[in-house]
Amino acid sequence: MIQVLAFYLFATLVIASAVFVIMSRNPVHSVLWLIVAFFNAAGLMVLVGAEFIAMLLVIVYVGAVAVLFLFVVMMLDIDFAELRAGFIRNFPLGIAIALVLVAELVLGIGAERAGALKLGTPDGTAAPLMDRSNIEAIGALLYSRYLFLFESAGIILLVAMIGAIVLTHRERSDTRRQNISKQVKRRPDEATINVKPEVGKGVQL
């Protein structure tokens, strides 16, 4: 009973906040609504017993992606009113595409239910471990069977990082960068000078 209640609560909130994402006038509010939607989707994932995905949603989507969106929205000067005008003009097209997608979903699921579409039977390498949470099950697979691929994926992320630095990092001459070792090495006698200004005359440094 409580599960059903929780499901309807989370589901309503996901849909409501998703509507607010596209309806709110202020783009920053949109991103904040998006965060609400992610949290509620995480709640739904917990309900179906996928707590690992719930955690990923919160950590990756809320923690990283949403914050990134917020940065982009705040840093870039985008005319959202103009974007919205295009949105309304293309609204019928959007609805048509959405209907096509829904029809495909219905047809696909219907065909599978009717037995016209036979999916493969899983080969069992990724079967869940008994009496273990799915975090443990994923960990056990990731660090044993798929260890090699897991490590290789790490190299991909490293290459992405090298790439971002190679393409964007450059020494700039027009900014004054902090040189900590130079600051630390400075002696008091280099930093201060004693002058005795005459009355009525300024100091020449």
């Binding site: 090699f148 190299i155 290459v159 190679v166």
Partner: protein, 487 residues
């Protein structure tokens, strides 16, 4: 298979990644001044890796002893053959780079590191026997390649090439992933062996869709028509050493990967994909030949030539026989030598200030003042056209032979006809170099490393190459046998 045995099978990959990480640290501390030293170290690492994979090829390793990490990785003779070609091409891209980048003060220590990681990704691709390995290898290679294409970031064309390659490559990865998820959904497994077993009998519509989407994604990576549009722009815009790399190593990796997917995973369903491959082969041969005719930039011309060559390679795949696979490998080896020769010759075309010369009109009369260079470039062009005394003919010959033996006579006939069209623009370059009024633009001196590489490539594609046919054919046969045993 226990863990230690698996680790010993991926020893070249471990060496490559460790070397990449160490050299990255060296690059971070020593700065761009150390790029030449890092490049030399990277070439040494590639040579060491080549020595590590060579025994598997010479002994024709195949069967369960070559499978690592519960069927995700296969270090058999086929993978070794492809890896040797990839290491050679990667080494060439490292050797030609410093002289080119140093002129514009853009040689950065990350270049050799990125090449090493790209080579690592390609090694994973050719050894993949699981959809996950396939994808991770492909992405590792592509991600490094996107950065390399935009390596001259102050140059507009290079930035454009990088962006174009990235957007289209991401789209192709999406298509490939969609196909992989369909395949997984309809077979219930990601391993090639499992997919093959699950697809016995008539293939279901869903699995067929999966196979087609995967082939579409892979055709993008090998630049086969109709997924070739990015090639001329990216090859022209990317810095020439990077273009040398793109035209060689990733081609080998993607072709070898396509062979694994079609002949191993979908090897029981040849009828399902054969027509697609035949279409892609013919379209590539024809579009590559016709598209090159109007080109005025020699890098664009070589890009169309690479599309054309991929078509000939795919004719071997359409045969779907061990002879076809062996012919493809022989063709790949010769193609690598021709491409490296062609692009190194382009790198050596410089004006008096040392700036690169890329226009075909600007090399008019090259034979008058750069005799040896013009002769080498002419040899590469004749070889690409498949004119008999040169080694390029042998590659085309074995591919057509395999197609005829597999009963694909019309395919071979159209291929031969199209190669005549292709000969037109190759010969045009030779004509411009030898018979036109000298433009006296490409007069600059070239680096000794470039000369050495060009000499090696020219020697390989010269008629002396025929001394290697027996040896090369035997190795390719071993590799093809390993591929078909795995299947």
């Amino acid at each position: 298979m226990d863990f230690a045995a698996s680790l010993s099978l991926v020893a070249p990959e471990i060496l490559l990644s460790t070397a990449g990480l160490v050299l990255l640290l060296v690059a971070a501390w020593a700065g761009d001044g150390a790029s030449r030293a890092i490049s030399i170290a990277s070439v040494a690492v590639l040579a060491a890796c080549a020595f590590m994979v060579a025994p598997a090829l010479c002994s024709g390793a195949m069967g369960p002893d070559t499978v690592a990490f519960s069927g995700q990785f296969r270090a058999d003779a086929f993978a070794s053959f492809a890896k040797l070609l990839i290491y050679a091409a990667g080494g060439a891209a490292l050797i030609v780079a410093p002289a080119f980048f140093e002129r514009v003060h853009a040689m950065r220590a990350e270049y050799p590191v990125l090449i090493l990681f790209a080579v690592l990704g390609m090694g994973l691709m050719v050894s993949a026997s699981d959809l996950l390995t396939l994808y991770i290898g492909l992405e590792l290679n592509s991600l490094a390649a996107y950065v390399l294409a935009a390596f001259l970031r102050d140059d507009e064309r290079s930035a454009e090439a990088g962006l174009k390659y990235f957007v289209l490559g991401a789209l192709a990865s999406g298509i490939l992933l969609f196909g992989m998820s369909l395949t997984y959904g309809f077979t219930g497994t990601t391993s090639f062996e499992g997919i093959r077993a699950a697809l016995s009998g008539t293939i279901s519509m869903g699995a067929l869709f999966g196979a087609i989407f995967m082939l579409a994604g892979l055709s993008f990576k090998i630049a086969a028509v109709p997924f070739h549009m990015w090639t001329p722009d990216v090859y022209e815009g990317a810095p020439t050493p990077v273009t040398t790399f793109f035209a060689t190593a990733p081609k080998v990796a993607a072709v070898a990967l396509s062979m694994r997917v079609t002949l191993d995973a979908f090897g029981g369903q040849v009828a399902a994909w054969q027509q697609i491959v035949i279409f892609a082969a013919l379209a590539s041969v024809i579009v590559g030949a016709l598209g090159a005719i109007g080109q005025t930039n020699i890098k664009r011309l070589l890009a169309y030539s690479s599309i054309n060559n991929v078509g000939f390679i795919l004719i071997g795949l359409a045969a779907a026989t061990p002879q076809g696979a062996s012919a493809m490998l022989v063709y790949l080896a010769i193609y690598i030598a021709m491409s490296v020769g062609g692009f190194v010759a382009v790198l050596m075309l410089k004006d008096a200030d040392g700036a690169p010369v890329e226009g075909i009109a600007e090399i008019a009369g090259l034979s008058r003042h750069r005799k040896v260079l013009a002769a080498c470039l002419a040899m590469v062009m004749f070889s690409l056209a498949g004119i008999p005394p040169l080694f390029g003919f042998w590659g085309k010959f074995v591919v057509f032979q395999a197609a005829v033996q597999a009963g694909l006579v019309p395919l071979a006939a159209i291929g031969i006809a199209a190669s005549v069209i292709g000969a037109f623009y190759y010969l045009k370059v030779v004509k411009v170099m030898y018979f036109d009024e000298p433009a006296n633009v490409a007069v600059g001196k070239s680096d000794w490393a470039h000369q050495a590489l060009l000499a090696i490539a020219a020697l390989f594609i010269s008629p002396l190459g025929y001394l290697l046919t027996r040896w090369l054919g035997a190795l390719a046969d071993k590799a093809a046998a390993a591929l078909f045993l795995a299947a």
